[in-house]
C-alpha cells in the first residue's frame, strides 16, 4: 500500500494499477489519479523549484489554480513544459520530469540564488546595472554578462526543439446555453436548460464531472452529493440536446458570446483511438452563457508559507475525498474563516490527526467551534502562524499571539509539531471569464473578494461564482440561470458554515512571505514596488510580475492588492483590480493552429504554369502568384539568362505570361462616366475597340495604380491593374460605387482568373501573330497602336490588343483561361521560325527599366503623378478622385523626390534600396538625397543602370553623385540621367 493512500475511499479505480515515471523513477497510481495525487500517494512532497529563488515547492492546490507543481511531459522527442501536475491525468507509460532544477530536484545549485535574494527583488529585470570602468574593463559589460547567467537560472520549464508530432483539431459549435463548470450549480443550470428544450453544452475542465460535489460531504436529495451529481450527469449524457465536454477548459470569452475552449481529448490515454486528435479547440457561439465556475480558496501570506506540505485546506479535502489520500498524519490548520473547520472535520474523518486549529479571529462561530471540538484539535484563536520549519518537508510550525485589529504579532513563538499545514485565507470567486467579457468586478466587504456585477450582458452567474457559498442557494441560482422550468430545488444537508472571512491577508513577521508562488513575489516585493512608486495595480503587476505567468494570479491576486492597499493607506476597492485577460488556463499553441501549419498560403498559378515548369522556368513569388523569373538554359546564371532573353526579344521576339495582371470588367450605362471619375485622364472619349493607359490616384492625391483599360463595347470596359494591386483597386472601385456614388449604374466583376494572357514583344512579333492568327488581319492599319481585334489562334478565340510595356512592338493576346496552355503552345510554335524566346520577370523588369516605365517599386504610396513625370495624364477638364488633393502644399515643388535614371560609373552592379548621396562617407553615411527603386544590367546599353527617386531629380540630369549602401557595402560613383534610357521617342513600339 502506498504510504499516503487511505485504505479505502476516493473516486479512483483501485482495481487497476497504472505505471508512470517522474524524473526517471517509476511510480504507480490508479485510474482517476492525477500526477499530483499519485505522487502524493507515494509520499512525494517535493514537486518543483521556484521561479527565482529555486526554493523547494510542493503542492498548494488540487486543480487549475496550482502555482507550484509544474512539470514537463515528454512525448517521444517532444517536450511540453509547465503542465500542472494537478491537471495531468496519469496513464501507463506517461513520462514527466520536474523543472527549473540542476542537477536534480533534490539537489539544486540554483538554490544559491536565495543567498543573493537581496539583489533579486522586484523589478530586478528592469534595472540597469552600471559598473566602474577600470582600464580596459568596463563594469557594465560585466553586468550584462551576469544578466545572461541570471536570466538562465530563472524561469519555468524549457520547451523542446523537436517538432510536436501530435495532431490537433478545430471545432465550431453553436448552442442556446453554454454552462461553464459542472459543480452543483452548473449541473442544475444544464438540467433546467435541457428540460426547456434548449441546445446545451456543458464544459468542465476536470476529467470528472460534478465539481465540488466530488469532494464535499454534503447531501443533496437525500443522497451523497457525488451520487446526486453522478445521477444528473448520467441523465444529461443521454439527453439528445445536451453535449457534455469534460476535460474542456473554457479559456476565452470574446465579443458576441464567442467562447474559446480547449478539450484534452487523448492526453490521458496510453493509446488513442485511430483518428483521435490530441486536443480539440472549440469555438462556441452561445446564445447565453451560464458561468458556474466556482471559487478559488486563497492562501494566507506569512513567512515560510511556501514550504512543501503547506497546502490549501480545500485542496487537502479534495485529495482526501476524491483521491483517498492523506497529505499528512499530524495536520495543523491556519485560517481566517469558518470553511477550514469543515476541512478539518473531513480530514479527521479521513483518518488524519488534527493537532491544532490556528485562527486569527478572536471569536469564532458556535458551529465552527463545535466542529473543532469534535475533531479533538487544540483551538488557538487570536493566534497566527509566523514561520514554518523543515527542509523539503514540514516538521513544525511556530505560532504567536496575533492582534486582529492592529495586525501585530507578539509574545513568544510556540512550536507545534505538524507534517502538514492547511491554510485558508478566504475564497475568491472565479470571475475571470466575466472579466474578459467586460464585467467590472465589485468588491464585497462580506466575502472579502471581488464579485461579478449583477447586471450582466450575455451571461448569468450561479453559485460560488456569484459569492453564493450555501449549497442550497447555489442550486437555486443554477436552476434560475438555466431558465424557468418545472424542476424544484432539491433538499440539501450541508455543514451550514458561513465562509465570510476576517479581513486578514498577511501576517507581517520576519522572513520571506510569498504572495505569488509561481513568480516568487513576496509581500516585501509589493512594498518595494510601492516605495519605488509603482502603485497603481497595473504598475504593481508589471513591476513585480505578480499575477503573471501561467497561473495568472489565481491564488495571489487579492492578497497582492490587499498588501498594496495597506501600504497606500487605502481600501482595496479604491486600489481596484486588473482586468483578467485570456487565456484563463494555458492553451497549446498547436491546438490554436490545428491543421494550419507549414506552407498554408494558397498558390495562384497561371493556366500556363505547367508549361513553364516543363521548360525550365525558375519561379518568383509575387504575392500569391508564382511567376516565371527566367527560363534558364543548362549552365546559365540568372544574369546570363535574362540578358539572353532581353537581347533576343529586342532583336527578334519574345513571349511572356501576363495572366497575373488584375482584370476587372467595368460595365453599365455609366461605366465611361465612372472611369472618367476614377482615372486622371479621360475614358469617355475612347472609341470602342481601343485601349488607353490610365492612372488612378487615391483620395489623398497620391498615385494608387496604373494600367491599360480597353473599351470592348459602349458600356463594356476591361480594366487591367498591376498584379500586386488588383485587390486594392477592386476594393477602391467597389467603395466608390457602393458608398459614394450608389446612383451610378455600373457593375464590377473581377475576371483576373477568367483570362489567360500572353505578351508577344519584339520587332518580329507582328510576323509571329500573322503566322498563327486567323479571322483578322494584324497589320498596322487593322491593328494600330492601342487597337483591339478579335480572332482565333489554332481554333481558340482570342482578343488581341497592341500595347507595349517593353518598349518594343508588342501585343497582348488573351483567351479564356481554359484555352491558356493551348494558346501559349500555338504561339510558341508560331514563333519558332522567328527565333522567339519565352522570357520571365527578370527580362520584363530589365526592359521596363530601360524604358523608364514605373511599377509598384516606384508607386510606393508616397509619390505623386508629377513625381513620376506623368503630369500629362492629369486632365484639367474634369474632376477626378484625388484631383483636389494632389496639388496641396508639400505634394508639389521642386524638392520632391522625382523619378530619374541612374547609371553606374564604376561598372559594378547597383542595388534597389540603396541610397543616393552627394558626398560619399563610408563610415558615417549621411544626407541621402533619394533611393534606388530598381536596378539591372542593361544588355542594350551594356551598363549597370537603375531607376531612383531623387530629390529635385528632374534638375539633376547629368550630375555625378554616389550610391551608398552600407548594408551591402556597395559604394560608388553614379550619374543621374533621364529615366528614358532606351528609345526615348518610342519609335520601336509605334513602328
Amino acid at each position: 500500500m502506498s504510504p499516503r493512500r487511505a485504505a479505502s475511499g476516493g473516486l479512483i479505480d483501485r482495481s487497476r494499477t497504472i505505471r508512470f515515471t517522474f524524473d526517471g523513477q517509476e511510480f504507480t497510481g490508479h485510474p482517476g489519479d492525477t500526477v499530483a495525487s499519485a505522487l502524493l500517494a507515494n509520499g512525494v512532497s517535493l514537486f518543483g523549484r521556484s521561479f527565482k529563488y529555486h526554493r523547494p515547492r510542493g503542492i498548494l492546490a488540487a486543480g487549475v489554480d496550482e502555482p507550484n507543481a509544474l512539470v514537463t511531459v515528454l512525448r517521444g522527442e517532444a517536450r511540453e513544459p509547465n503542465i500542472q501536475a494537478t491537471m495531468l491525468e496519469i496513464h501507463d507509460g506517461l513520462k514527466v520530469v520536474s523543472q527549473n532544477r540542476f542537477p536534480s530536484l533534490g539537489l539544486d545549485v540554483g538554490a544559491l540564488n536565495q543567498l543573493a535574494s537581496k539583489l533579486l527583488g522586484a523589478g530586478f529585470y528592469y534595472k540597469t546595472f552600471m559598473g566602474p570602468v577600470i582600464g580596459p574593463l568596463k563594469g557594465t559589460r560585466f553586468w550584462m554578462f551576469c544578466e545572461h547567467l541570471i536570466r538562465r537560472a530563472a524561469g519555468l520549464g524549457k520547451a523542446g526543439l523537436a517538432p510536436d508530432p501530435s495532431r490537433y483539431e478545430r471545432m465550431n459549435a453553436f448552442c442556446d446555453v453554454l454552462v461553464v463548470g459542472s459543480g452543483p450549480a452548473g449541473l442544475m443550470a444544464a438540467k433546467a436548460a435541457a428540460e426547456n428544450g434548449a441546445r446545451v453544452i456543458l464544459a468542465e475542465q476536470s476529467a470528472r464531472l460534478g465539481g465540488s460535489a466530488n469532494w464535499s460531504e454534503d447531501t443533496i436529495d437525500a443522497m451523497p452529493a457525488r451520487d446526486w451529481a453522478a445521477g444528473v450527469v448520467a441523465d444529461l449524457t443521454t439527453t439528445s440536446n445536451v453535449t457534455m465536454l469534460p476535460r474542456t477548459s473554457v479559456w476565452g470569452y470574446y465579443d458576441g458570446n464567442t467562447i474559446a475552449a480547449l478539450e484534452r481529448v487523448t492526453d490521458h490515454k496510453t493509446s488513442p483511438r485511430i483518428g483521435e486528435p490530441r486536443q480539440r479547440h472549440w469555438t462556441i457561439r452561445a446564445g447565453k452563457v451560464v458561468l458556474a465556475t466556482g471559487a478559488f480558496e486563497r492562501p494566507l501570506v506569512f513567512p515560510g508559507n511556501d514550504r512543501p506540505c503547506v497546502m490549501l485546506a480545500s485542496a487537502a479535502e479534495r485529495f482526501a475525498v476524491e483521491y483517498g489520500i492523506l497529505p499528512g498524519e499530524k495536520v495543523a490548520i491556519f485560517t481566517n474563516n469558518d470553511s477550514a473547520y469543515r476541512s478539518a472535520m473531513t480530514m479527521q474523518e479521513a483518518g488524519c490527526r488534527i493537532v491544532a486549529i490556528v485562527d486569527v479571529r478572536t471569536d469564532i462561530s458556535p458551529a465552527a467551534r463545535a466542529i473543532a471540538v469534535r475533531t479533538g484539535a487544540e483551538i488557538l484563536t487570536s493566534r497566527a502562524v509566523t514561520s514554518t520549519e523543515g527542509g523539503k518537508k514540514l516538521h513544525c510550525i511556530k505560532v504567536q499571539d496575533y492582534d486582529i485589529r492592529s495586525g501585530a504579532v507578539s509574545g513568544d513563538a510556540r512550536s507545534i509539531d505538524a507534517d502538514c499545514l492547511l491554510v485558508s485565507g478566504g475564497w475568491s470567486p472565479v470571475i475571470n471569464l466575466a472579466s474578459q467579457a467586460g464585467a467590472r468586478a465589485e468588491w464585497s466587504e462580506r466575502v472579502q473578494a471581488f464579485l461579478p456585477p449583477k447586471d450582466a450582458d450575455g451571461w448569468v452567474g450561479a453559485g460560488a461564482f456569484n459569492g453564493t457559498f450555501s449549497l442550497e442557494a447555489a442550486l437555486a441560482e443554477g436552476l434560475a440561470a438555466g431558465g424557468a422550468s418545472a424542476i424544484d430545488v432539491p433538499a440539501v444537508v450541508d455543514a451550514a458554515l458561513d465562509i465570510a472571512p476576517a479581513p486578514v491577508f498577511e501576517i507581517e513577521a520576519k522572513g520571506k512571505a510569498f504572495v505569488d508562488f509561481q513568480h516568487d513575489v513576496t509581500a516585501d516585493d509589493v512594498r518595494l514596488a510601492h516605495r519605488e512608486g509603482f502603485q497603481s495595480v497595473e504598475h504593481l503587476k508589471r513591476y513585480t510580475t505578480l499575477g503573471m505567468a501561467t497561473d495568472q494570479g489565481k491564488t495571489s491576486n487579492v492578497a497582492g492588492l490587499a498588501i498594496m492597499a495597506n501600504a497606500l493607506g487605502k481600501q482595496i476597492p479604491e486600489v481596484g483590480t486588473t482586468r483578467f485577460r485570456p487565456p484563463f488556463a494555458p492553451v497549446t499553441i498547436g491546438a490554436l493552429a490545428a491543421e494550419r501549419f507549414g506552407e498554408i498560403r494558397p498558390e495562384r498559378l497561371t493556366p500556363m504554369h505547367d508549361w513553364h515548369v516543363a521548360h525550365g522556368a525558375t519561379f518568383y513569388s509575387a504575392g500569391l502568384w508564382h511567376r516565371p523569373m527566367i527560363y534558364g538554359l543548362p549552365g546559365e546564371t540568372v544574369e546570363q539568362a535574362y540578358v539572353r532573353e532581353v537581347k533576343t526579344t529586342r532583336e527578334a521576339a519574345g513571349i511572356a505570361d501576363v495572366s497575373t495582371l488584375g482584370k476587372i470588367m467595368v460595365q453599365g450605362p455609366d461605366a465611361a462616366y465612372f472611369l472618367d471619375r476614377v482615372y486622371t485622364n479621360t475614358f469617355s472619349t475612347l472609341p470602342v475597340g481601343k485601349a488607353r493607359y490610365g492612372l488612378m490616384l487615391r483620395e489623398d492625391g497620391l498615385v494608387l495604380d496604373d494600367g491599360t483599360t480597353w473599351r470592348l463595347g459602349r458600356h463594356d470596359f476591361l480594366m487591367t491593374t498591376t498584379t500586386a494591386n488588383a485587390g486594392k483597386v477592386m476594393q477602391h472601385l467597389e467603395f466608390l460605387l457602393d458608398v459614394i456614388w450608389p446612383e451610378l449604374k455600373v457593375t464590377l466583376t473581377s475576371v483576373t482568373d477568367q483570362w489567360a494572357g500572353a505578351s508577344i514583344a519584339g520587332p518580329r512579333s507582328r510576323e509571329v501573330l500573322a503566322a498563327c492568327v486567323s479571322g483578322t488581319a494584324v497589320d498596322n492599319e487593322t491593328l494600330p497602336f492601342m487597337g483591339i481585334v478579335y480572332g482565333e489562334v489554332d481554333g481558340a478565340p482570342v482578343m488581341i490588343c497592341r500595347l507595349s510595356f517593353s518598349g518594343e512592338l508588342a501585343y497582348e493576346v488573351y483567351s479564356g483561361a481554359g484555352h491558356g496552355t493551348h494558346l501559349w503552345q500555338a504561339l510558341i510554335e508560331a514563333g519558332k521560325p522567328f527565333g522567339m524566346v519565352a522570357y520571365g520577370l527578370e527580362a520584363l523588369g530589365t526592359m521596363r527599366i530601360e524604358k523608364g516605365h514605373v511599377t509598384g517599386a516606384e508607386i510606393d504610396g508616397r509619390v505623386t503623378a508629377r513625381d513620376l513625370h506623368l503630369d500629362w495624364m492629369l486632365s484639367k477638364k474634369k474632376p477626378f478622385v484625388g484631383s483636389m488633393m494632389m496639388d496641396r502644399e508639400g505634394l508639389v515643388g521642386p524638392d520632391r523626390l522625382q523619378l530619374v535614371g541612374i547609371m553606374s560609373l564604376d561598372n559594378l552592379p547597383l542595388n534597389g534600396g540603396a541610397h543616393i548621396v552627394e558626398e560619399l562617407d563610408r563610415e558615417n553615411p549621411h544626407d541621402s538625397i533619394g533611393h534606388m527603386t530598381a536596378a539591372c544590367y542593361s544588355p542594350m546599353l551594356g551598363r549597370h543602370i537603375g531607376l531612383a527617386l531623387v530629390k529635385a531629380g528632374k534638375s539633376r540630369h547629368g550630375q555625378r553623385v554616389f550610391t551608398s549602401d552600407p548594408l551591402r557595402k556597395r559604394f560608388g560613383p553614379v550619374e543621374i540621367v533621364s529615366h528614358h534610357f532606351y528609345d526615348p521617342e518610342g519609335k520601336r513600339m509605334h513602328g
Partner: protein, 92 residues
C-alpha cells in the same frame, strides 16, 4: 464579434474589412473647397462609444455596410447597406 450582414446573415467579423468612419461626407465631385476635402480625407471623430463605420463584407457578398458599433463594448447596434440612401435603420 459577429456582424449581421443584411444579405448573408450573421457572420464572423473575420469575413469583414473595416473601411473607415461612416460619418464623413465626401464633397461633391466638382467641389473646390479645399478644407472640405481635407476634412473628408483626414478628419476622424474616433468616438469612444457608438461609432458610425463602414465595413465591407469582403469574404461574402462584398457589400459595403453602414454599421453603428460601440467601440468600447464592440456591440454592433445596427447594420444597413451603405448604398441604401433611405433611412432603413433595422435593429441588428
Amino acid at each position: 464579434m459577429i456582424i449581421k450582414c443584411p444579405w448573408c446573415g450573421p457572420r464572423d467579423s473575420s469575413e469583414f474589412v473595416y473601411q473607415g468612419e461612416g460619418g464623413r461626407t465626401r464633397p461633391d465631385q466638382s467641389s473646390t473647397d479645399q478644407s472640405a476635402w481635407n476634412a473628408y480625407v483626414y478628419d476622424r471623430v474616433n468616438t469612444a462609444g457608438d461609432h458610425d463605420e463602414i465595413w465591407q463584407h469582403s469574404g461574402g457578398c462584398r457589400s459595403h455596410l453602414k454599421i453603428i458599433r460601440n467601440t468600447v463594448t464592440h456591440k454592433v447596434l445596427s447594420v444597413v447597406f451603405a448604398c441604401d440612401t433611405q433611412d432603413q435603420e433595422k435593429p441588428a
